[in-house]
Amino acid sequence: MPRVHLMSDHRRFTDGEAVVESEGATVGAVIADLEQRYPGLGEALTHGASAGVNGEIHAEPHYLEVDTDTDIYFVAPLTGG
């Protein structure tokens, strides 16, 4: 199962857990799964989070495919100057 690494800001939904396992073949599916188990988390991850997958940060990762041993790091959105 993909492992989801949460920022501290999002751990309030998981009772403080920093890493949770999840189901899903895409980041969007993972988020939907998390919303079921941790109400509010899916919404928080959909708006205002980017996802780091395989060393690359994706600003809009919804359809990004993941497999069972993928680590997904949800982070605050990045910007630049």
């Binding site: 690494h5 920022m7 501290s8 800001d9 309030r12 920093a18 928080a44 205002g48 780091g52 060393g55 690359e56 940060i57 994706h58 600003a59 809009e60 680590d71 790091y73 982070v75 605050a76 959105p77 990045l78 910007t79 630049g80 100057g81």
Partner: protein, 740 residues
């Protein structure tokens, strides 16, 4: 100088041709937004708030509307009110105040007239009744118990909140157990720091010309870092569909992050719509300083633990940023990511607080310089306490590929260690510190970003190629696009014309920000060129009478066994007979931006009787991945460095009690002048980014991150006094030296 472990054999990439847009710029013909005049054009001017925070009780434009030459007047009532949850809400209210002015300088009306002087006179004649509200200027005022509300529409992001507050954003990152680590540490250093608001300081004031035709479509010529951004934000502010607007990018006279948003275009558009005439709107320098930019002021606390042999074991930081009057500053995560060492225990917290000061904007690596100033100062103090070489301490702890970032995910291939080693081995670092001077070292990190880019490559009938992108060129990116295209196609770089096209002539492209243009747009160019080569091989196969698989592309020509090479120009000349125009477009949403590290070193003297700092020698080392055009890579390093020097030494916003900016001019907002500086030596380290076809990381932002601490660290060693407050202006240094 360039340090590369294994220099790749490129023909064009890494060379230094004269930039394609340079000629127009040295003869004075390059067209910036303020250089354009349209027939029948009006000039516009703003009325801006003289108060730091006030309710607008009434605005009476009657007198102004009747003044000589006046053709149109707009106020907030002429723009739709967006829902406060709309992502463009903050931009919209900054463009034109609705109901409340949130800072001194906030626009609340504008006038279009036959001349600029008439417009300004009429704007000044608009009568406004204000109900003054409490002004919150500093982070401390904003966080104080019972602090007045800066912006009634602010809803805190990322944490649960119960109604409006001054808290904009909270980000927290943690791993391990910092408390336990501090409890058992050999050595702990903790310091508090603060920095002032600073401005990006581009020399070109914001400018645009907008012509709304009778069909309701708007032609916009604007100076910005992204004309598709101008289109979407202008449309959102006007309540229009973006496709009603065509934005043509003018040459841009510097941005540094400050032109990643809009101020003028919806105002000029509405005035043009109302008057039926083109409207030109150009800010004065005073307006630029009062009402655009700046970068946030900050306060921070940094505590780091180390073992006696120099292992960094824990870091705990709090960073506070005053993000201005609205809550759309998205840079705070950057603040917390500059802790580029293998801390097993880490707790980083960053908060954004609202203040009645101008809405902030990105400035190169937004939020990172303030944080690096604090962290790298403490690291330096640890090195002093441990009697370790400052580079040695950093090398002992520097992150490398696979180590976790502050956010947890592992670093990809990065070049921090290579940068540290390059400085350690440099002539500068190996030379003795001059008598009476002191040396400081500091480092910086920035993610860089990817985002969306498009490119079209048209092969012309004469065998030249036009490379069309949507990335405004701020610092030489057109030359980089041409170099990558020349490398791919195998033709002379001067046979390529790189251009930046309007929003109707090239695919959507995100803003030139995040050091992304050469990375992402460059990748789109490379992809387009590779598609073009496929097409050229097919055409060559037709001409040569062979299968496409039998044709390879070698050094600008199609090659098939037993036949003379068929050069690109020959294929181009036969485009019509082989299938028609040779044109290819590529678009992408780039991931895999390569993080970039920089290591700086500075020798300086401090006049202990006046507090004045003189910089004698400066070296900036940075990992570029691959330097496509080394001269412009050096230029980015040098420019970022000098902006950082200004930030460190003399730049600051000085507000009076009502939030009026007292130094809204280049006389008193003191950016460095040529005589303040030595040459800025550069060392380009090349650790290629595996996610880019030429290994590009992007170089625009990281260079501004290290100088603040680099200079503070040198000052600390020169005077035995650690400066924790920026700018380190002469009065502040002298006061610190006199404080026992």
């Amino acid at each position: 100088m360039t340090v590369a472990a294994d220099p790749p054999a490129y023909k064009w990439v890494g060379t230094r041709p004269i930039r394609h847009d340079g000629y127009e710029k040295v003869i004075g013909k390059a067209r910036f937004a303020a250089d354009l005049d349209l027939p029948g054009q009006l000039h516009a001017a703003y009325l801006r708030s003289p108060h730091g925070h006030a309710r607008i009780v009434s605005i009476d434009t009657t007198t102004a509307a009747g003044m000589p030459g006046v053709k149109a007047v707009v106020t907030g009532a002429d723009f739709p009110d967006l829902d406060p949850t709309d992502p463009n809400f903050d931009v919209s209210v900054n463009v034109m105040a609705r109901g409340t002015v949130l800072y001194n300088g906030h626009a609340l009306a504008a006038v279009a007239a036959t001349t600029r002087a008439e417009a300004a006179a009429a704007a000044a004649a608009i009568q406004v009744e204000y109900e003054l509200l409490p002004v919150v200027l500093t982070l401390d005022e904003s966080t104080a118990d019972g602090a007045p509300l800066v912006n009634e529409h602010n809803v805190t992001k990322f944490v649960e909140s119960d109604g409006p507050s001054n808290l904009a954003t909270v980000n927290v990152l943690e791993r391990g157990d910092v408390d336990a680590a501090f409890a058992t540490a050999d050595l702990v250093v903790e310091r508090e720091f603060d920095t002032a608001h600073v401005h990006q300081g581009y020399i070109e004031p914001h400018a645009c010309v907008v012509d709304v035709g009778p069909n309701g479509k708007a032609d916009v010529w604007a100076s910005s870092q992204g004309h598709f951004m101008v289109r979407s934000l202008t449309a959102a502010t006007l309540g229009w569909e973006p496709s009603r607007i065509k934005v043509t990018p003018a040459e841009i006279g510097g941005g540094f992050g400050g032109k990643t948003t809009i101020y003028l275009e919806p105002v000029a558009a509405r005035l043009s719509e109302m008057s039926g005439r083109p409207v030109k709107l150009v800010m004065t320098r005073e307006e630029v300083l009062r009402a655009t930019g700046p970068a946030p002021a900050s306060k921070s606390r940094v505590k780091i633990a180390a073992s006696n042999d120099g292992e960094l074991t824990a870091i705990e930081c709090w960073f506070g940023y005053s993000v201005g009057c609205t809550n759309d500053f998205a840079g705070l995560i950057g603040a917390m990511s500059v802790a580029s060492y293998k801390f097993p225990n880490l707790k980083l917290e960053a908060v954004g607080m609202l203040t009645n000061t101008p809405k902030t904007a990105a400035y190169r690596a937004p939020s990172a310089p303030q944080a690096a100033f604090a962290i790298e100062s403490v690291i330096d103090e640890l090195a002093q306490s441990l009697d370790m070489d400052p580079i040695g301490l950093r090398l002992r702890n520097a992150v490398e590929e696979g180590d976790p970032t502050a956010m947890g995910m592992p670093h990809p291939r990065i070049g921090f260690i290579e940068c540290l080693e390059a400085l350690r081995d440099s002539d500068h670092y190996r030379s003795p510190v001059p008598d009476g001077a002191a040396r400081g070292v500091g480092t910086g990190f920035w993610f860089n970003i990817g985002e969306q880019s498009s490119a079209t490559v048209n092969l012309n009938e004469d065998g030249t190629a036009t490379v069309i992108t949507g990335s405004p060129d701020i610092g030489g990116s057109r030359a980089s696009m041409a170099l990558m295209a020349a490398e791919e196609l195998g033709i002379d770089v001067y046979r390529i014309t790189p251009t930046v096209a309007d929003t109707e002539s090239v695919g959507f492209t995100d803003v030139t920000e995040g050091s992304r243009a050469t990375f992402s747009t460059g990748m789109a160019v490379v992809n387009a060129c590779r598609d073009l080569i496929e097409e050229l091989r097919a055409r060559a196969a037709t001409i040569l009478g062979v299968e496409q698989d039998a044709v390879t592309w070698v050094d600008g020509a199609a090659v098939a066994d037993g036949q003379d090479p068929l050069p690109l120009s020959a294929i181009a000349a036969r485009a019509k007979s082989t299938g028609g125009p040779l044109t290819v477009t590529a678009s992408l949403n780039a991931a895999g931006a390569g993080p970039s590290f920089a290591v700086h070193c500075c020798d300086l003297t401090v006049d202990e009787e006046t507090g004045q700092v003189a910089i004698l020698r400066y070296t900036a080392v940075q990992d570029a991945g691959t330097a496509i055009h080394p001269s412009y890579v050096e230029g980015q390093l040098q420019g970022g460095t000098v902006q950082g020097i200004g930030w460190a030494l003399n730049e600051e916003y000085v507000f009076d009690d009502d939030g009026s900016l007292e130094n809204a001019s280049f006389l008193d907002y003191r950016i460095p002048v040529a005589s303040d500086l030595p040459m800025i030596d550069t060392i380009i380290v090349e650790v290629p980014n595996p996610a880019h076809p030429y290994g590009v990381r992007g170089v625009g932002e990281t260079g501004i991150v290290p100088p603040l601490a680099t200079i503070a660290n040198a000052v600390a060693r020169a005077t035995s006094t650690r400066m924790t407050s920026l700018p380190m202006s002469p009065p502040k240094i002298l006061a610190a030296l006199d404080t026992p």
